[in-house]
Symmetry: C2
């Protein structure tokens, strides 16, 4: 086992780790190493190539909160008209119901107006009084409907719950396990779609010496004596500081004894604050499926299309007859645990509108993500989503999808101008050992502040943390991770000099 | 001069005064009088009758913030399907530009998305740091455009300022004199259009003995000795408490020496806190014009239609060339002070959609309101708005307006299916001595809290205030005034019993 003395070890070459390294080098630190378990940099920022060289981000793909996002501000400075680094893609949302077709801005349905009021009612629920207990997002939807049913039409009662579920595609988890308290944020400005995040990642990864970067090098343990000792398969790094940027899901493995890939053994174990924080923190599984077509033969009216989950025709009647909202919650518990595409709201990003690429990028949520990511092949993924995809295409002025996946015989009678599916790309985040899902998410009763506070305090003065789960502004976002990398680099730069021999601080 | 001993005098029979009386009677107070200067109750709630018995509210006409509005909750309890007391009328807003026609949800223009971002930027401007100095709303619009011009298209730059001016129709004042800090609230739930407010007013006015009510009885002075002495033309009321509910605009007259109708002489004068508060408080002039047609021959697509003010075709160029945002503000200062209909954003409430009545209720703002309210007759009002009205009609699928006002000869060649204007009703709030405008509004540098705090503290323990300007939640709204009436009634009920002889508290 080789031993190497080093000033700072960074665990993980996601955007938090890369930015921390960049900042340290910029400020004169000469002696640093980034240990990355994967064979690539970027972590949960991952751009892949598809049909005819089209590029997609399977991880984060937007710059959120662009009014306050400093990473975005940097990108904006670099963007050129002939070489744009992002595109603002917020626009109207098309809403599609399996049976009724388009629901957006029906002059009588006015679902968007009701949704706004519902969201405001959540805000009032938790902000008017302190100490209101959390409940699942689904309960809040049904409670609102029960309480306001006099002021809602049957169709509003029927479709609002399904529209309200759009937040699942933000949080990456189903409405039954989503914290009501944490469900609705306000965006701080428009969202900008990155073209693509690999250019962001590579730009930052090129700002420090390339020999700092050790790919395919998982860390197995972090031991604290006077120094910090970070151990990999064949080496011990004795350092002043370590910045641990592994995902919250991977850090959680350290709390258990089971040996799993990615698990880091902490010695002494993670401190009591951190252990406590994990009781009030969860992790979601936003997943994506990219449907690549030969050409666009559907409407370029909008970028965002949501297909709503199936709604019960008797739901309005149930809501009007219910004696209390808890009863309504019970009435809507599904006993059928099978997976079908119309059981979940799905967000389709219509790249044909925003970037001109004839592909749809579909976002899905836990537990659907795990199901889809476990399917054996592209064909199975296609067959799963085909009913929704066909409805979407027909609603958007096209014909149903023609299967042009390699190995498929194109169905006879499929019209010439039907959208010809050439390829499918699906994520695998929930099964990859170094991600185990997408990003932090709150279940009912969780407290995002507890985790952030514990992470910011660190394991001790030498063992530090960065990443999307360690910061409040930008939590769950690329720019939040990036900011946390700056924060920890600054901590190291401004921090106490190494302790004198024999003293552990 | 007759002298009368009484427990409580209420000055003003608007909804604040009526509700205070109602509450006092309900709680057993037997000895109360309401002195109202006008010959009617309701104050700035005023329902009038027009063509063929159609009814309109010339003052407040909505229940705002219906998630938290307790007055609305009462009305909702009383509403019946066959006798509705309100209608939720929020829906999509149609935006009309003089030259370009409809601007709403143009897939490329996306003005509503940009407006949302701009509003969020104001929130960030004032909430991220303390002590940020206020500036006119117009400056904030131009500052946003200057700073974000890279991210905005020419058309977005051109039309956003005109769309952003929609807030003028909330505050009742022009964007140049509107406080940026106070410009954008969030609604607490949908708005419900009252059918009509006279039923609200009459309901409350019937909950106490009718002999309490003295109409056409202006108060001339309020003197404080051991008792409070409220003087009218022919009587002195010696009372324990007086609740003064006159509008802020009328109360302001008490600070000056000039004898004007409605002015109340306070002796001793209004206290230092109140005098100070008036330095940071203003009053607006929202006005209305009702256009009554024989039949509806325009689109019932939406309730709300905004005609945008004229925009400068060179504005985007100016914004891109400006060296700083202050220069952009200077560039857009108009030197032409004449009034034309296309110089102001106007909100048309399309009653044909919400209540089925073929009338448009137009909202306007200071200084346009004062100009319109000074016009000699309906014909002049019609001619002033005719260009906008015709554009609106044509854009909404109709023909230009045919003048069918009594005394007009219907223009030859006016098509059979053109909307036939039968009557115009305009407000007169800015010229009525007992209102002098519409409701409180903030100019740059104003502080709404100072006035509310001073009003809630009262002149002293016996001379109290109620009304829309005396409360924070519901400021400027009917329900805010109503809540303030409850507050002051409760103060009287729970307050100290009358002071012993010789002592002034």
């Amino acid at each position: 086992m080789a031993i190497q003395d080093i000033r700072v070890v960074i665990v993980g070459a996601g955007i938090a780790g890369l930015k921390a390294a960049s900042k340290l080098f910029e400020q004169g630190v000469q002696n640093c190493v980034i240990l990355e378990a994967r064979a690539r940099v970027g972590g949960r920022l991952h751009t892949v190539e598809g049909y005819k060289g089209r590029k997609y981000d399977l991880g984060a793909s937007w710059h959120h909160d662009t009014l306050i996002n400093r990473l975005f501000a940097e990108e904006a400075e670099l963007s050129r008209e002939n070489d744009p680094r992002f595109v603002f893609d917020d626009d109207k949302v098309v809403l599609i119901d399996e049976h009724r077709g388009r629901l957006d801005y029906d002059g009588d349905l006015k679902l968007e107006i009701i949704l706004d009021e519902f969201i405001k009612s959540i805000e009032l629920e938790f902000n008017q009084k302190l100490g209101v207990p959390d409940s699942p997002y689904k309960s809040l939807v049904l409670k609102y409907i029960f309480e306001k049913r006099r002021f809602l039409t049957d169709d509003q009662i029927r479709y609002l719950p399904q529209l309200a579920r759009y937040v699942e595609l933000w949080h990456g988890i189903d409405w039954e396990i989503l914290s009501g308290k944490d469900s609705c944020y306000t965006n701080q400005g428009r969202n900008a779609f990155a073209l693509n995040y690999e250019s962001v990642v590579n730009r930052i990864a090129n700002t420090f010496p390339q020999e700092w970067l050790k790919l395919s090098t998982p860390v197995t343990s972090i031991n604290r004596s006077r120094d910090v000792i970070v151990t990999t398969e064949d080496r011990e790094y004795h350092c002043d500081y370590v910045i641990v940027t592994v995902p919250q899901s991977v850090l959680a493995l350290s709390l258990k004894k089971d040996k799993k890939p990615g698990r880091i053994e902490f010695n002494p174990p993670l401190n009591a604050n951190i252990q406590e924080a994990f009781k009030y923190a969860h992790y979601g599984s936003l997943g994506k499926v990219v449907f690549e077509f030969a050409e666009c033969c559907w409407s370029k009216e909008t970028t965002r299309i949501i297909t709503l989950a199936h709604s019960d025709a008797d739901f309005a009647l149930k809501a009007r007859q219910a004696g209390n909202w808890e009863q309504l919650v019970e009435d809507t518990v599904s006993i059928d645990n099978s997976f079908t595409a119309w059981k979940f709201p799905l967000l389709f990003v219509n790249l044909a509108k925003s970037t001109g690429v004839p592909s749809l990028v579909m976002l899905m949520q836990e537990p659907l993500t795990q199901h889809i990511e476990s399917l054996p092949d592209r064909k199975a993924v296609f067959e799963f989503f085909r009913p929704v995809l066909d409805k979407l295409m027909v609603t958007m002025g096209s014909k149903p999808v023609a299967n042009g996946l390699s190995g498929s015989s194109v169905a006879k009678g499929s019209a010439k101008d039907a959208p010809m599916l050439k390829n499918i790309i699906a994520t695998n985040w929930s099964r990859e050992p170094y991600s185990l899902g997408s990003y932090s998410a709150c279940h009912p009763g969780d407290d995002p502040l507890t985790m952030v506070t514990a992470m910011m305090a660190g394991q001790d003065s030498r063992i530090r943390f960065a990443g999307e789960h360690t910061i409040l502004d930008g939590a769950g976002c690329a720019y939040g991770a990036w900011e946390s990398g700056i924060r920890e680099a600054e901590y190291v730069l401004e921090g106490p000099s190494p302790a004198p021999p024999g003293m552990i601080v």
